[in-house]
């Protein structure tokens, strides 16, 4: 037998018991050739192109799932930022495009379609401004469309006008979807240093330097790492790092195999493996539980940030060795509502928004799926975003904010979406005002780090 008994059992144990799965296979499709001055022709071209490339995406992915015995949790599509396709359009036309994307996504059976996006870190074009204003209607009238807006980067600084605009848009989205726990906000990400080949929604889009079509894969597998750490006992940090690397290496290799095979099946080029460790709300599939297994009492305890930094670094080192095409976010994700351990820590009062912010400085991706009271003001949201983007800008890393100011809810309540989006307790927000700061307007200039030439 070319494989040891134990090796085969290890793989079976990972896939059958420890929740190892592929989080997403995301097909990125360029829609740049779909632009037309007539909106009906544009939407028709978009619809036809998505169906042409991704028509069999779900079927092909399912076949690969069966062949290798590894499940793929999500099948998704990302497209060129729609503001680029429709720069000449107004809000009504953009909403028609959103509806077209939704229709195409439903037709081909994917979970989400992402790329209702604009990149405005240095300023707005007319079309970008129109797209952003259309986001509340677009997200409340569609099911599967995800939006993202990049408002800051290390090279351009933080566009505070965009931050203020987006904080109002978030409030509006929350209001428009208040009958469903403000679910629209779970489909809207605000970015600093957004990446072009990210397979994870809601922040995915098919960047302008990407090819015609490509297939990116996002792996998962906190459960596997958790079990490995638990069974290793009290080993020292170097040994722990080695252990995480060995485990992640195997997971990444399997992820790359699945991605390549799905790409091959669709007859399109393979893009990247995003080596992020992404949790799911299932018990045991949690980043928080890994941190606890590393030795902290609960997430939020002193030492949490260091533990996360070490985990994240080991994940990256293993992934780099395992795959020749690493990209996307590539770090550990700490979404609150999608991680049973994070939810528990918030419920017990162990994890505050401030500690969560500190944790985002050492991993991907930012304040993700955080629910706050509906009464939180737009200026406070802008302050939270400015802080998060300052971390991203100064450290030359991606940070994002996906925050849900749940209308009519306050601390002690929950938002509950089910599925992968999970449920989140409302976190308290500091009552101190940031209004006079954020409303100064203009841009926070790019840091000295941007001058690398």
């Amino acid at each position: 037998m070319p494989y040891e008994f134990d090796e085969i059992l290890e793989t079976i144990k990972m896939t059958e018991i420890e929740h190892f799965d592929i989080r997403t296979v995301t097909m990125g499709i360029s829609l740049r050739d779909c632009a037309d001055r007539n909106i009906d022709i544009t939407t028709q071209k978009i619809y036809e192109k998505i169906l042409r490339y991704a028509g069999n995406h779900v079927k092909n992915a399912q076949e690969i799932e069966r062949r290798y015995g590894i499940s793929i949790a999500n099948k998704r599509v990302s497209v060129t930022p729609i503001s680029i396709i429709g720069d000449a359009f107004g809000q009504d036309e953009f909403i028609k495009i959103a509806e077209t994307l939704d229709k195409a996504a439903t037709e081909i059976g994917i979970d989400y379609i992402a790329g209702y996006s604009a990149l405005v870190q240095k300023g707005f074009t007319k079309g970008e401004l129109e797209l952003i204003k259309s986001i509340p209607n677009a997200l409340s009238q569609t099911q599967k469309v995800c939006a993202s807006v990049n408002v800051a980067s290390t090279k351009a600084g933080i566009n505070m006008d965009a931050v203020n605009l987006m904080s109002n848009i978030i409030k509006e989205v929350a209001e428009k979807t208040k009958d469903r726990d403000s679910v629209g906000c779970a489909k809207l990400v605000i970015f600093c240093n957004a990446v072009e080949d990210n397979p994870f929604v809601a922040g995915a889009f098919h960047g302008i330097s990407e090819p015609e079509v490509t297939l990116n894969v996002g792996i998962s597998g906190p459960g596997v790492v958790l079990e490995a750490i638990k069974s290793a006992g009290g080993i020292n940090f170097q040994a722990l790092s080695e252990l995480i690397k060995k485990t992640m290496f195997k997971i990444t290799r399997a992820g790359e195999l699945i991605g390549r095979k799905v790409a091959e099946k669709n007859n399109i080029p393979f893009g990247i493996v995003d080596i992020s460790l992404a949790p799911t709300p299932a018990e045991g599939d949690s980043i928080a539980d890994i941190l606890i297994a590393m030795g902290i009492e609960d997430v939020g305890a002193p030492g949490t940030t260091a533990a996360l930094a070490m985990l994240n670094d080991a994940v990256k080192k293993a992934g780099l060795m395992a795959s020749s095409s690493v990209g996307g976010m590539s770090g550990a994700f700490i979404p609150v509502s999608e991680d049973a351990g994070m939810i528990r820590a918030v419920e017990k009062g162990h994890l505050s928004l401030e500690k969560l912010e500190a944790m985002t400085a050492v991993c991907s991706v930012g304040l993700d799926m955080v629910a706050v009271p509906g009464s939180t003001s737009a200026e406070t949201l802008a302050g939270i975003m400015a802080d998060e983007f300052a971390i991203g800008m100064i450290n030359d890393k991606t940070t994002a904010v996906r925050i849900i100011p749940a209308v009519g809810k306050s601390v002690g309540d929950y938002v509950d979406y089910g599925g992968l989006l999970g449920r989140a307790p409302i976190m308290p927000v500091r009552e101190l005002s940031s209004k006079a700061f954020v409303l100064r307007g203009g841009k926070i200039p790019a840091p000295i780090r941007s001058l690398t030439n």
Partner: protein
């Protein structure tokens, strides 16, 4: 990468139109071969190893007839057993087989269905996974 007939036809049409008046059978053949090579973004060494080999793993409480039921079904489906390794751990039956389904009229999906019904009858779990997943995870 498995080359489909459609793909070869597409390459041939491309080659003929690119060569235009110079399209002789040899020239077309050469160009199509080149296209097949360059379209293949899968690293060559890995591609050649890809095969019809499948790992069958079975676990459960030990009863009589597990090996015979599984191997009878495999022989009926014209699957070749390349290797077999079986252990009883406490009262648990564990078996790993490497099989080749290249010459079988059934594909891996059909075999998974067949093994599922056998597994239900014998109250054991039977998994069939393509060999590649083990090679990718455990071999550098």
């Amino acid at each position: 990468m498995k080359l489909t007939e459609d793909k070869i036809r597409e390459f041939s049409i491309q080659a003929i139109s690119e060569l235009g008046a110079n399209a002789s059978p040899d020239a077309v053949k050469k160009l199509v071969e080149e296209k097949i090579r360059s379209s293949n973004d899968f690293p060559e060494g890995e591609m050649n190893l890809s095969s019809g080999r499948v790992i069958l793993t079975s676990f459960g409480l030990n009863t009589t007839g597990i090996v015979s039921s599984i191997s009878a079904a495999l022989s009926e489906a014209q699957c070749d057993i390349l290797d077999i390794s079986q252990k009883i751990m406490q009262e648990f039956f564990t078996m790993i087989m490497m099989i080749d389904i290249t010459n079988s009229p059934k594909d891996i999906k059909d075999m998974q269905e067949i093994m599922k019904s056998i597994g239900e009858k014998l109250k054991v779990k039977i998994y069939l996974q393509h060999e590649d997943v083990f090679r990718f995870m455990h071999r550098i």
